[in-house]
């Protein structure tokens, strides 16, 4: 069972939820797909870390074979190539690694080399396997790292909790691709609801079974709850606004490991999520 946790808006509690659910589950895997700003590892502080370089293929030219026909320059839609002063120039940071120039060079003057874009760190924290994707600063896209992370998810010990990036653009979409169930974390604010709507559209587009967990719940009307009622979205949990929980979280402590009351809270939530996920996959195999 692979459970993705997403929110649309940042700071709603994706990491809080995914880290604590994994901790409450005991033997499980936590995968951090928020490769631009990964945080789960700060909570788990995993040991026994194994590192894996993530690279993409970038072309380079053999000047002796290049005859200046410029077929590659004309083909590249990303404009990552230029031919100047009798030499071909490749712009690594613009190249999208589509391989087209290499394929179509009539002189076979182009080959590929590996360029680092980030890394994956795999470690252990008590009985949780922690897999963290990290994008190198300055790199534009974390997609190649997320693809590899999800590959690892296939062989990982279940349940697998996938901590997704904020937003609903391609990196968020890539993270939920293999999920069996999606937990949408919502906060009771105007911005939160607006962005919840976007990510709700995303999970519907991909036909992903889903449910909402309302986080930071206060007294009074909850705009996120209202939204869920209006749209008929199932609310599977409510986490109250709790300063104690906030402080534990802000100090990167796993609440479910620190205090029985939180362990119980996340264990109950885990039970509900598991039941929902199993039901959904039975109804919609």
């Amino acid at each position: 069972m692979k459970i993705a946790v997403l929110s649309g808006k940042g700071g709603t509690g994706k990491t809080l939820a995914s880290v604590n659910l994994a901790a409450a589950a005991g033997r499980s895997t936590y995968i951090d797909c928020d490769v631009e700003e990964p945080n789960g590892h700060l909570f788990f502080k995993p040991g026994d870390i194994k590192y894996e370089r993530i690279t993409i293929k970038i072309p380079f030219v053999d000047d002796r074979l290049c005859n200046g026909c410029r077929k590659c320059v004309d083909f590249c839609v990303f404009n990552a190539l230029a031919y100047v002063n009798g030499r071909l120039k490749v712009f690594d940071d613009i190249c999208h690694s589509c391989g087209g120039c290499v394929l179509f060079c009539p002189e076979k003057a182009l080959s590929e080399k590996e360029k680092d874009v980030g890394q994956i760190q795999k470690g252990v924290s008590e009985n949780v396997t922690v897999i963290t994707g990290i994008l190198n600063t300055g790199e534009a896209s974390g997609i190649p790292i997320i693809k590899k992370l999800l590959n690892d998810a296939d062989k990982a010990l279940e349940p697998v909790f996938i901590d997704c990036p904020p937003g609903s653009a391609c990196i968020a979409m890539e993270s939920i691709k293999d999920a069996d169930y999606c937990i949408l974390i919502a906060e009771p604010t105007l911005f939160g609801v607006h962005n919840l709507n976007m990510v709700y559209e995303l999970v519907r587009l991909f036909d992903k079974p889903h449910g909402v967990v309302l986080n930071k719940c206060l007294e009074g009307e909850n705009p996120a709850e209202k939204f869920c009622m209006e749209k008929g979205i199932k609310i599977i949990g409510r986490i109250p606004f709790d300063s104690e929980l906030g402080i534990l979280n802000s100090n990167a402590l796993i609440a479910a490991r620190k205090d029985k009351k939180y362990r119980d809270m996340f264990s109950s939530l885990l039970q509900i999520v598991t039941k929902e996920a199993q039901n959904e996959t039975v109804i919609n195999p």
Binding site: N79, N85, K89, A140
Partner: protein, 122 residues
């Protein structure tokens, strides 16, 4: 001498364009013949790598110098590899800049900015 200037429209009365990579047109001007022609900048509508593509267009026009208010690092790399000098424009009047160039009053552009990275893709 042939010089290139990024311009907003195909007319000598138009203004210098503030962007190099996404300028709609380039004026290719021959300072001896006092004659110019306008070429379209295909890079203006490209998804990304506009600086590189615009620079390729300028290089292919066989100019000796580029007069521009600004230029990105990728474009600068291409232009300089071709031995083309980059000068900073003084204002947005085409004729003022051509005059200043002829009199040797333009300074070489030194503040090359980091790429816009507004490339297509994820």
């Amino acid at each position: 001498m042939k010089i290139a200037i990024p311009v907003e429209n195909k007319s000598m009365e138009t203004t210098v364009c503030q962007s190099f990579g996404r300028t709609p047109y380039f004026l290719i001007y021959n300072t001896e013949l006092k004659d110019g022609l306008f070429i379209e900048n295909d890079a203006a509508t490209s998804q990304g790598g506009a600086g590189v593509k615009a620079a390729q267009i300028v290089v292919d026009s066989d100019v000796n110098a580029l007069l521009t208010p600004r230029c990105g690092e990728n474009a600068a790399e291409v232009i300089m590899a071709a031995g083309i000098k980059i000068y900073k424009t003084v204002n947005d009047s085409i004729m003022d800049n051509i005059d200043a160039f002829n009199k040797g009053n333009l300074f070489v552009l030194t503040d090359i900015h980091a790429g816009f990275h507004n490339h297509a893709g994820k």
